[in-house]
Symmetry: C2
Subunit: 409 residues, 2 copies
């Protein structure tokens, strides 16, 4: 872990925020969501091109994590629990199908390339978890968070993160030579589900009276955000301590504040705080990718590229089809499948565990990284292209109106 001077730290922040700003603005000029620009900004300032930003540096890593926590907190603040529960069964089916299909397809691809069972399980598992951060940000950029399809996608992405965590704990065990344990599977799943249920049940009773009391205290300008932030950070911390995902805690924290008197104030402040932290996360994701392994002119990359292409196809097809798993859903099923495509941090964590435990070689590691990269870059423009359909197919007038009102564009 490198020691940073203040000047180096400021320089890195300037490079990350400046490039994110510029590329995000260009992406929007080209009719794409800003997050695509921020990922490209990460590729540019990261090791692939300029080498200015190393996302493994502790302070950058931790501030990027704060970014994803704030992002999920904002999403939680815009999530109507009743609507989420209404789409709950649909989300669950989409999530389960969206984990199973890419896993099986990824497993088969690796077996076809002659890999061992354990490597095939690893590669399949790395394809399972949707990056809720990227999809949520795209939906938010497009002003579509309140559409039924978006709620199904977000619900499924949250469930799929829970499943991803379970698989991760299993696969980490495999990497250490442990055998699969039903007890371990049950414990991880129970913790994540129990955490969400308990937090929401208890929070619905405890949070409103506290926020009413806080509303009566005099506060300095702009500091009403701090108690809300403490709730989000506290639940994220608790989730992490319990062995669950921090983003579950942050998301639950946001949902608990929906409908409180300070809801609007808090959201305004969190968005401003997020304007600083959230781009750090997306630039970090971009900076972690090494695009030199994509150069097709270098014949050493051909094997990796072929595996990567097949895995990417498996990753995209698996999620695309899962949108149709909820056959009874009246909205745009294609949109749901495409919304589930982006992989991100969880996929990269799988790849990193595989590499550090010597199960995956450099090529297999790069192939998984390329899948994450490709799915991340494919989804935003695809979602954007599909979005006009939401207005034509099935979305009630009222939802379209809300979506337009809350649009940030």
């Amino acid at each position: 872990m490198e020691h940073l001077t203040l000047a180096q730290f400021l320089g890195i922040l300037i490079a990350m925020l400046g490039s994110a700003r510029l590329c995000g603005w260009l992406a929007r000029k080209l009719g794409q969501p800003a997050v695509l620009g921020e990922l490209i900004a990460g590729v540019i300032v990261g090791k692939s091109v300029l080498g200015l930003v190393d996302p493994k540096v502790e302070v950058i890593h931790l501030m990027a994590e704060l970014g994803v926590i704030l992002l999920l907190f904002t999403i939680g603040l815009e999530t109507d629990l009743r609507q989420l529960l209404r789409v709950g069964p649909t989300s669950a089916v989409v999530a389960v199908a969206g984990v199973a299909l890419p896993f099986v397809l990824g497993f088969l691809v690796m077996k076809a390339f002659g890999s061992s069972n354990i490597i095939a399980i690893f590669a399949g598992a790395a394809l399972t978890a949707t990056s809720v951060g990227i999809t949520a940000r795209v939906l938010s950029d497009l002003g579509q968070l309140h559409a039924d399809e978006s709620q199904v996608i977000l619900g499924a992405a949250v469930i799929d993160d829970v499943i991803g965590l379970i698989i991760l704990s299993l696969v980490s065990g495999l990497a250490q030579g442990q055998e699969l344990s039903f007890l371990g599977v049950g414990k991880t799943a129970g913790l994540a589900i129990g955490f969400l249920v308990v937090v929401i049940l208890v929070g619905r009773i405890v949070v409103p009276p506290i926020t009413r009391r806080l509303a009566r205290l005099t506060m300095e300008e702009g500091t009403a955000i701090v108690p809300a932030l403490l709730l989000a950070l506290g639940l994220a911390w608790l989730a992490d301590l319990l062995g669950s995902a921090v983003i579950l805690g942050a998301f639950a924290g946001g949902m608990l504040l929906v409908g409180t008197p300070q809801h609007h104030d808090i959201e305004t402040s969190v968005i401003r705080l997020g304007a600083f932290f959230v781009p750090l996360f997306f630039v970090s994701v971009g900076a972690a990718l090494d695009v030199t392994t994509l150069n097709p002119l270098d014949s050493r990359n051909h094997g990796t590229l072929l595996i990567a292409a097949c895995l990417t196809l498996a990753a995209v097809a698996g999620k695309y089809v899962c949108g149709y798993a909820a056959w009874w859903f009246k909205g745009n099923k294609q949109l749901i499948g495409v919304g589930m495509i982006p992989r991100g941090e969880v996929g990269l964590i799988f790849a990193q565990i595989g590499l550090s435990s010597k199960l995956l070689d450099e090529g297999q590691f790069a192939a998984i990284a390329i899948v994450v990269m490709a799915t991340t870059f494919i989804a935003p423009p695809w979602l954007k292209a599909l979005m006009p359909d939401i207005h034509k197919e099935g979305a009630p007038e009222e939802l379209v109106a809300i979506a337009e009102l809350t649009s940030h564009e």
Copy 2:
């Protein structure tokens, strides 16, 4: 440098923000500025009591530095350059007197205790620099930033930081066995003054057309802050690279944006971002202090306490008197002197350099730390007690009205 997990990082943030919030609220309940509560919060969560927060951990240190940068940026956003230039000569006289008197008094105290010349120079130098952060925050908490006295204090504190930097570079040289060089003194002083003059002259021409152009671009909600933040971070970075103080850059950045069309939006957003970062700075300052060296029941502390008491007296008297150096100033001269009393990070840096170069022993180091602690705790309630006078003595009706309008209470 300890490696932090995400859960540890979140836990530290929660401890810092939560205790700052609670103690800040209690301080206000008792009629004191919130910053006093935040410093006490730091003592509680720091090594003196709970040991939860170590301000030397890289990520905490760097985020606290961002806090002081944002604080000075906010102060800059509320600083009228014309008013500052009007009080400029007064500030300069106060600053020079406020550096010279504590230095001489501190030097004499250490000689009286039988110290060598170099140790006496070190201790005297550690008493010179006012902590502009603490004073500015108190004045802001009291809604008095626009009063003439406040402008004199801020101007003097900025000048005094420049002088402090020069002395620091000289004393560091001494600690390494170098001799005093007039060339070195001139270079450090020239850089700091030149930086401010060039940035303000160039910025006054370059910044307004850029902000007008940016105002015409569509932006996502809440992200108008990013270009402004890039200006502040960029100037802070530049100041640091040139060997000057980051806070000079941040302060200049704020001043350049006064009067631009986005001024109000930027200020609103920076205050919200500051609500997160600024308390981290004050809690860090509190957490760095070891109050166990103050225990008078432990006879091992008596020598240290006696030196500390004499140095504190020298530190307080030296700055108190400097308020009267500008004999022609019509405002409250006592208020100016008291506003210059708080020492902070710069004093602690002196102490740390002295300790690590083996010039100061543990007792002398602790004595300087106690001076920083004592002056920091004395000034806020004293300023608060003096503040009603500003309304009685000499402040024009108009300024009182502005002060009341901009009051955050």
